[in-house]
């Protein structure tokens, strides 16, 4: 066994991965987190908005501050974080990573927690490859983290929370947002966000989508049109908008390739972003020793990712005999309750039902 091998390896230093590593450390097991990025914190680092929910779920705190807190807590408790270290493969339980993008390290940890997050979905249309067309997250990263405006005038495709929040943040950064187009008849995101956008005078256009972008070397014009209930263009509704940027906010998909390599069984749950590994109540996948947490286990919020991370850390540490039965039961109940609390309300209820299907998928395989 390699001297660098911890009891438990966590892949991904976002909210789920850091919460998992902190939980594991609290039970005295050794843990290493591998992350491909130069800084820990995952996508929280670019989230300048305040979170909703109750106080224990960091309500009222900005994502960037939650990320910083988690990183400090992980450092304080002695979690080892390997940065610039993409995990490149899992071969029969052997996990291979490129430490510092340079040295190949293969280890066989007793438990592995996959907290690899999600990737944004793209939409294709004529001109979608022109510079100026980017994911909403890309715009958010460059504006909020690197402090560079990605364009002067923006059209946003998709009115889910990501589209609405990014519209607001681009405006804060001094870009003009010409419109948000939404293919569905209703706005996808929360009413509070949509109201804020409308107060700023940014039109949200339901049943509209992007037709094409035009430009020489980069986006110069964006053509939108109305669509009917079957998503067919309505003739005569084309509008040309002078804009240099298009942000695609078309949802996300779990980044599940490592789970595929580990041999995990999958389930397709469209409400949570597509295919993901099934897991049980403590986030263990169908492959013994492998756990999932956060967006890889279904696209939700950073707050749910943190609770899932704790669950995975608890489950993994308990399975190694590091947690007393009473403590295990107590924490299991607390984290499960916290997740139930986060998954209430009209949006949350749907997610709760969808998450139950992920667990049902596990039960079907296990029994």
């Amino acid at each position: 066994m390699n001297a660098e091998t911890p009891d438990i390896l966590v892949v991904g230093a976002g909210p789920a991965g850091l919460a998992a590593a902190i939980e594991v450390s609290e039970h005295g097991a050794s843990v290493t987190v591998a992350d491909e990025n130069a800084k820990p914190g995952g996508q929280l680092l670019k989230q300048t908005h305040r979170f909703f929910g109750s106080e224990r779920h960091y309500a009222g705190t900005r994502g960037i501050d939650i990320g910083t807190k988690l990183v400090h807590k992980a450092n304080d408790i002695g979690v080892k974080i390997l940065l610039d270290t993409p995990v490149v493969g899992i071969f029969d339980g052997l996990v291979a990573m490129a430490v510092g993008q340079k040295r190949l390290l293969a280890m066989h940890p007793q438990r592995t927690i996959l907290a690899t997050g999600a990737a944004e979905n793209a939409i294709s249309f004529p001109g979608w490859t022109l510079p100026g067309v980017m994911t909403a997250g890309a715009a958010q990263t460059f504006v909020n983290v690197h402090r560079v405006r990605v364009g002067e005038r923006v059209v946003i495709v998709g009115s889910g929370n990501v589209g609405l929040i990014v519209a607001y943040q681009l405006r804060q950064a001094g870009s003009d947002v010409a419109a948000i187009v939404e293919a569905m008849p209703n706005i996808g995101g929360w009413g509070v966000h949509a109201a804020k956008i409308r107060r700023m005078g940014i039109p949200i256009l339901p049943q509209h989508t992007i037709k094409e972008t035009r430009g020489d070397g980069r986006v110069e014009q964006v053509v939108i049109h109305q669509i009917d209930k079957r998503f067919r263009p309505v003739p005569g509704t084309e509008t040309v908008i002078e804009a240099d940027t298009v942000c695609l906010a078309a949802g996300m998909s779990p980044r599940s390739r490592l789970a595929e390599m580990a041999g995990c069984a999958f389930v397709n749950v469209p409400e949570l972003g597509g295919r993901m590994p099934v897991h049980n109540v403590v986030m263990q996948t169908s492959v013994s020793g492998f756990y999932s947490a956060g967006d890889i286990a279904g696209i939700e919020e950073a707050s749910t990712a943190i609770e899932e991370g704790k669950l995975a850390g608890l489950g993994a540490a308990f399975s190694l005999g590091r947690v007393e039965q009473a403590v295990y039961k107590e924490r299991l109940m607390a984290y499960t309750e916290a997740l139930d609390e986060l998954r209430c309300g009209p949006f949350g209820k749907e997610r709760k039902q969808a998450k139950d299907r992920v667990v049902k998928g596990y039960d079907e395989i296990a029994n």
């Binding site: 491909e36 990025n37 130069a38 300048t48 900005r62 990737a119 944004e120 793209a122 490859t129 022109l130 510079p131 100026g132 067309v133 980017m134 994911t135 997250g137 890309a138 715009a139 990263t141 460059f142 504006v143 909020n144 690197h146 402090r147 560079v148 405006r149 990605v150 804060q172 950064a173 001094g174 070397g217 980069r218």
Partner: protein
Amino acid sequence: MRRIHEHPILGTLKDAEECTIVVDSKPMLARAGEPILAALLAHGVYATRLTEKLREPRGLFCGIGLCTDCLVTVNGVQNVRSCITPVEEGMVIETQTGGKRER
């Protein structure tokens, strides 16, 4: 300039050490440690490369190193992801013009 100096939430942009990179033979000032693509965008360079066959421009797309659209040549090494690779003093960057693959 496209840099965001003042931000209502994040405050004033902190001073950073400046470094000079060379982009397509021209010197360009960058903030030490920022990704190559941030420096390029700040100076209005949006296309990082042309595709090999159709010579179509490409630039920022995912911003986190996943999509490999924003590739540039750095110090002679091709296909470097400009959105996640930090600038270094004296770095020589070429926007790629495709057709560089060895055949």
